[in-house]
């Protein structure tokens, strides 16, 4: 791993950059209203929320090589369960989140058993098929609002008294959750489990013959990445007081894949950048080019797949003047080049 073998110097540098970004994000709300309109806080919030999901997505796709075309099923379930629990059970955000995590863990476990035998294209089809199953169910199940989905969801409370309805407390709550998610993802990547995952990505047979039960490990990372998606769904249900069935739709799962590819998978930071690009550029293009937004985003996507399949992190780590940046953006498993 980038940090473990060249001593403390690069590890502290990467932490420096991460701390700097965190500081900027913490100070961002102070600028709203003066430097830029409050709407950009809402846009940044969408990036924070989807960023949590993309960390889980990257663990599965970037580190373990399994690109899921149905990750919206975890997101949608996290949103629906949380919304229903806030409306009928208790307005604490934690109850909704835990229930969402619970159900998603069951889904992740059961689907994991089914999905683990497939690889590459068949994994894509199977995750695509399962997420469509959730989409069709959500659309036709009247109890959870059918095609209109759930509306009028009460804003949950962090602790009795602090409501997450207004934006600034919710912003810091989401930033906190993303920071925790990033720290957890980093630890997983740097754990022995993470190292074996990278092994599975490159040569699953060799991993098997060293004594690792690779199907079990794949099921485990599939479930974990689902939990990240669940938290992300719960936060979105809190941010926007409605949950439409389109949270399960293929276009959302496709967007996640796009975010991962644009940013560059297998680096944790890449997908976060990809999320910022897709959400920010998407909004920007849609406002200025009106109906032509998809043409540009699709074109950017094609160019990225053709010319830099490893995504933005590849470009940055190549262009980056200082070793610092490449440490942060360099992919964990292809950093050492004869230094």
């Amino acid at each position: 791993m980038a940090d473990s073998d060249v001593g403390g110097r690069t590890v502290s540098n990467r932490r420096l950059i991460e701390a700097a970004i965190l500081l900027v994000l913490v100070l961002l709300p102070l600028g709203s209203g003066r430097l830029f309109s409050d709407f950009y806080i809402a846009l940044t919030l969408r990036i924070l929320i989807f960023g949590i999901l993309m960390l889980g997505f990257d663990l599965l796709a970037g580190y373990c090589g399994l690109v899921s075309f149905g990750h919206a099923m975890f997101f949608g379930t996290g949103a629906y369960v949380a919304a229903l629990s806030w409306r009928y059970l208790s307005d604490s955000v934690w109850v909704g989140m835990l229930l969402g995590l619970g159900l998603n863990a069951v889904i992740g476990y059961v689907l994991g058993l089914l999905v683990v035998r497939t690889r590459t294209v068949y994994f894509i089809f199977l995750t695509f098929a399962f997420s469509q199953f959730f989409f069709v169910t959500a659309n036709s199940w009247r109890l959870i609002g059918g095609t209109d989905g759930l509306t009028g969801i009460p804003a949950p409370t962090l602790v009795p008294g602090i409501s997450l309805g207004d934006r600034i407390p919710f912003y810091y709550f989401s930033l906190g959750m993303l920071t925790i998610a990033y720290w957890v993802a980093r630890r997983i990547v740097n754990s022995h489990f993470g190292r074996v995952l990278r092994g599975i990505h490159q040569n699953e047979e060799r991993v098997k013959f060293l004594g690792y039960n690779s199907p079990l490990l794949i099921r485990r990372v599939f479930l974990i990445s689902g939990l990240f998606g669940s938290v992300s769904g719960t936060l979105m249900a809190c941010f926007q007081p409605f949950v439409p069935p389109s949270y399960y739709h293929l276009s959302l799962s496709g967007e996640f894949v796009m975010m991962g590819l644009l940013g560059g998978m297998g680096t944790l930071v890449g997908p976060l950048m990809g999320t910022a690009i897709v959400i920010f550029l998407g909004d920007f293009l849609s406002t200025w080019l009106k109906e032509a937004w998809m043409l540009c985003l699709g074109g950017l996507y094609v160019v990225c797949v053709l010319f830099s399949p490893e995504g933005l992190t590849e470009i940055i780590s190549k262009l980056s003047a200082t070793r610092l940046l490449s440490k942060l953006f360099g992919r964990g498993d292809r950093h050492t080049s004869g230094n």
């Binding site: 473990s4 754990s191 092994g199 013959f209 060293l210 039960n213 050492t336 230094n339």
Partner: protein
């Protein structure tokens, strides 16, 4: 007897690839399996290590039948294996390749909560193995950048790193220069003191000098077995290898 196969047979689509093989691998000895191409040597390895399941027969390892076990369970019993076509993690550093193998010896081998940076035991074990196979200068090189011979030695090092009881090497010196082959022979001999080794090899000089016992296979059946000298003098072997009697 460390490992015993009991009339192992395998036929795929009517083709009889292994025919009632009864072999014995003695503990602490270096056994070599020789025979022309297509004799079923690698297939035998695949059956023993669980990559293929035999049509009939049992494989007894320490008096435990391991047919039907999945490869990772067999590996955990202490059976390590290298492949005919090098099977390593190409986009990882040499050090990382060995670490993944070395960390299987510890309880936290695939735990989420343990941190690789704090794991001194694995690193030390990996350093030991790298010295043993002579790749410690290449430690940070990416496995893909190694020469073919070095890659084969790396794979052998990874197999050693899981501290096996029984090491199966499938043509370990193929593609190696004479110097590298000689170094590998010494390595096999030194490792052979602690670990039972089974080799598949074509280089007769290596087989003759290193092995304690030879098993000759042809067309899926066992022709003969015995000490190198006995096998060399057996005319059936000569007929197979030299085409004349």
């Amino acid at each position: 007897m460390l490992l015993r196969t009991e009339n192992i047979s395998l036929n795929i689509g009517g083709l009889q690839i292994l025919r009632d093989l009864n072999l014995e691998i003695a503990e602490g000895k270096i056994t070599s399996i020789i025979g022309p191409n297509g004799a079923g040597k690698t297939t035998l390895f695949n059956v023993i290590t669980g990559r293929m399941s035999p049509t009939r027969g049992q494989v007894w390892f320490k008096d435990k039948n391991i047919v039907g076990l999945s490869p990772f369970r067999i590996a955990r019993l202490g059976i390590a294996r290298s492949f005919q076509i090098t099977n390593i993690f190409e986009r990882m550093s040499v050090f990382e390749n060995v670490c993944i193998a070395a960390q299987t010896n510890f309880p936290y081998r695939s735990s989420i909560f343990s941190q690789v940076s704090k794991d001194v035991a694995t690193s030390r074990k990996a350093e030991e193995i790298l010295e043993l196979i002579g790749l410690e200068q290449m430690k940070n090189r990416r496995a893909r950048e190694l020469s073919h011979g070095d890659q084969r030695r790396l794979e052998m090092g990874m197999s050693l790193a899981i501290e096996p009881v029984f090491l199966m090497l499938d043509e370990p010196t193929s593609g190696m220069s004479p110097a590298e082959t000689a170094a590998t022979i010494d390595l096999i001999r030194s490792v052979g003191e602690k670990v039972t080794i089974c080799l598949i090899e074509h280089k007769m000089n290596l087989v003759m000098t290193v092995s304690d016992k030879l098993i000759v296979l042809n067309l899926g059946g066992k022709i003969t077995e015995g000490s190198p000298e006995e096998v060399a003098s057996d005319e059936r072997v000569q007929k197979i290898y030299l085409g004349t009697a």
